[in-house]
């Protein structure tokens, strides 16, 4: 399906490229969008959003979430006592999430 998507969409681009006009008269036309002004500075700058901690948190909690799936899909075959380690795991992760969210919510440090 992925490959089919590529295979089906590439011709659309090719056709579009063929039948669309291509006029290279004006170099200003190909400048990046800067609201009618000539762009100042580099487009790909060193640019840090204040929300960088969320992406760090994502990496860790993504792992946690998919670990939970390994447990959740096997839950019906597990004894009830087996829930306890997972609860411990969850508790630890939540314990970590609270300071992490506190840190990432602080405004001036990012």
């Amino acid at each position: 399906m992925f490959a089919f998507g590529i295979a089906a969409m590439a011709p659309a681009l090719v056709i579009s490229r063929m039948i669309s006009p291509r006029k290279r008269s004006n170099p200003v036309k190909f400048l990046p969008m800067e609201c009618g002004q000539v762009p100042s500075g580099e487009g790909r700058t060193h640019f840090m959003m204040q929300y960088y901690p969320y992406i760090l948190m994502f990496v860790v909690f993504d792992v946690m979430a998919i670990f939970l799936y390994a447990w959740g899909s096997a839950l019906l075959e597990l004894p009830k006592s087996a829930t306890l380690p997972m609860m411990g795991f969850l508790a630890i992760m939540f314990g970590a999430m609270a300071p992490a969210l506190y840190l990432s919510g602080k405004r001036r440090i990012w």
Binding site: M9, S16, F30, P32, E34, R44, Y69, G72
Partner: protein, 437 residues
């Protein structure tokens, strides 16, 4: 009049006609013929009247519609049909296109206006086609210093990823492109590609607004992936499987939304955020950052991204239906295909029209279950899509810090409540082995 149109020249007209014919022929030879032959070679040919149906024979059969039916039947059983047409790309694209049309008309109705009206005879029904033609004939402008390979590839990859997502959705019993055991996990893996494509596309444009928009999109998608994953855990816990078809089949008596409403709500909200739809369309907030990461995309590149995002919309709505609303399950309301017609043919007065292939086609492939399942699936999906579209009319855009705060604190908290509800339901014996079901 002469101001608008240039002088008409017959030679120019003929030349353009010839040009078009040449390109169409070239495309057909380069793409069309190989495609046809690949289809004909890959699909297993049925044996008809004692002789194997070769491609040549199949072409010669085209004159007789009754003889072509087995070919169609054989084609429908192939994987290529599944990928291209029914549960796969064609079906999804059709639904996505109707979503675009329905969205426009519905927003227009909500906003007390008319919406697309003139293209096509009825209420502007051909507007989308017109827009597509316009997009495909527009010039593609690539900003200077852009990273060309990524810039070209990103929209295509976007559509392809969305298509891969679509491939995992079971539409009717047995009708799914990729019926893998770990379907839900595959969904997460596929969703994980969208932020990468977005940020790469934004980065490659070498422009500020796309870059900010891409970073916003990245944060938004990434932050909402955790609640998305966690909100579905409840369903997995009570069903004990990750296969989407099995999850759907497990809801034959009641949909999971009855037991796990919080999970459904959280999934719905994260769905809106992952789709970058209002109220969560921050990456394309036009009043702040012109069009976000789509700013520099023009012509068909933009069209492809739109197509991909609507495919994604369909896929998410379908995933909601599959996981919470019971997928294809529903009362059997499509009437059974009359056996009489299949076996004995259609009686039209004195003439009795007998079609040989119908029985195998409708008996084996297009069954009553499949039609009914598809009907219910499409109905439920349309309902979910209605609720995805509706917020666009009544909500403003949220701000990025509010959004992230919402995703990381409230939604994750609700997710855990949902998980404990599921655990409680299991351990109280309401669900699971020995419970209902």
């Amino acid at each position: 009049m002469s101001v608008i149109a240039p002088k008409f020249k017959l030679s120019g007209f003929i030349q353009s006609l010839l040009d078009n014919i040449f390109w169409i022929l070239l495309l057909f030879v380069l793409i069309g013929l190989p495609a046809v032959f690949i289809i004909l070679i890959v699909m297993p040919m049925p044996v008809l009247d004692g002789e194997l149906l070769t491609p040549f024979l199949a072409l010669s059969y085209l004159a007789n519609p009754t003889r072509i039916l087995p070919v169609i039947h054989a084609f429908m059983t192939t994987d290529i049909f599944r990928v291209m047409a029914f549960p796969g790309f064609g079906f999804a694209a059709l639904l996505a296109a109707s979503v675009i049309f329905a969205e426009r008309k519905m927003m227009a109705k909500l906003q007390l206006r008319v919406g697309p009206f003139y293209c096509g005879k009825f209420e502007g029904i051909l507007q989308l086609m017109g827009d597509g033609l316009k997009l495909i004939s527009k010039e593609i402008i690539i900003p200077a210093k852009a990273d060309k390979p990524i810039f070209w590839a990103a929209p295509v990859l976007f559509v392809a990823t969305a298509a891969a997502f679509v491939a995992l959705i079971p539409v009717a019993p047995g009708w799914v492109v990729a019926d893998i055991d770990l379907g839900l996990l595959a969904v997460f893996a596929v969703i994980g590609f969208f932020p990468i494509i977005t940020i790469l596309s934004a980065w490659s444009a070498n422009s500020k607004y796309p870059f900010i928009g891409g970073i916003r999109a990245l944060f938004q998608m990434v932050s909402f992936e955790i609640p998305l994953i966690l909100s579905l855990l409840g369903v997995v816990m009570v069903t004990g499987t990750l296969n989407l078809s099995e999850i759907t089949a497990s809801q034959s008596n009641f949909p999971w939304i009855i037991f796990l409403p919080i999970g459904a709500i959280v999934f719905f909200i994260t769905m809106l955020a992952e789709l970058e739809r209002i109220p969560f369309d921050l990456p394309e907030a036009e009043s702040e950052i012109v069009a976000g990461w789509l700013t520099e995309l023009s012509g068909m590149l933009y069209g492809l991204v739109q197509l991909g995002s609507y495919l994604k919309l369909y896929a998410f709505a379908a995933l909601f239906v599959v996981l919470f609303l019971g997928g294809w399950n529903g009362p059997m309301i499509i009437p059974a295909i009359p056996e009489q017609i299949l076996t004995e043919g259609i009686e039209m007065g004195p003439i009795t029209l007998t079609v040989d292939g119908l029985q195998s086609l409708f008996g084996n492939t297009i069954t009553q279950e499949m039609l009914n399942g598809t009907f219910w699936f499409v109905l439920k999906t349309a309902g979910v899509i209605f609720f995805i579209i509706l917020p666009r009319g009544v909500f403003p855009r949220v701000r990025v810090d509010i959004l992230l705060n919402l995703g990381w604190t409230k939604l994750i908290g609700l997710c855990f409540i949902n998980i404990f509800i599921a655990l409680g339901l299991l351990y109280a014996g309401v669900l699971g082995p020995g419970g209902l079901q």
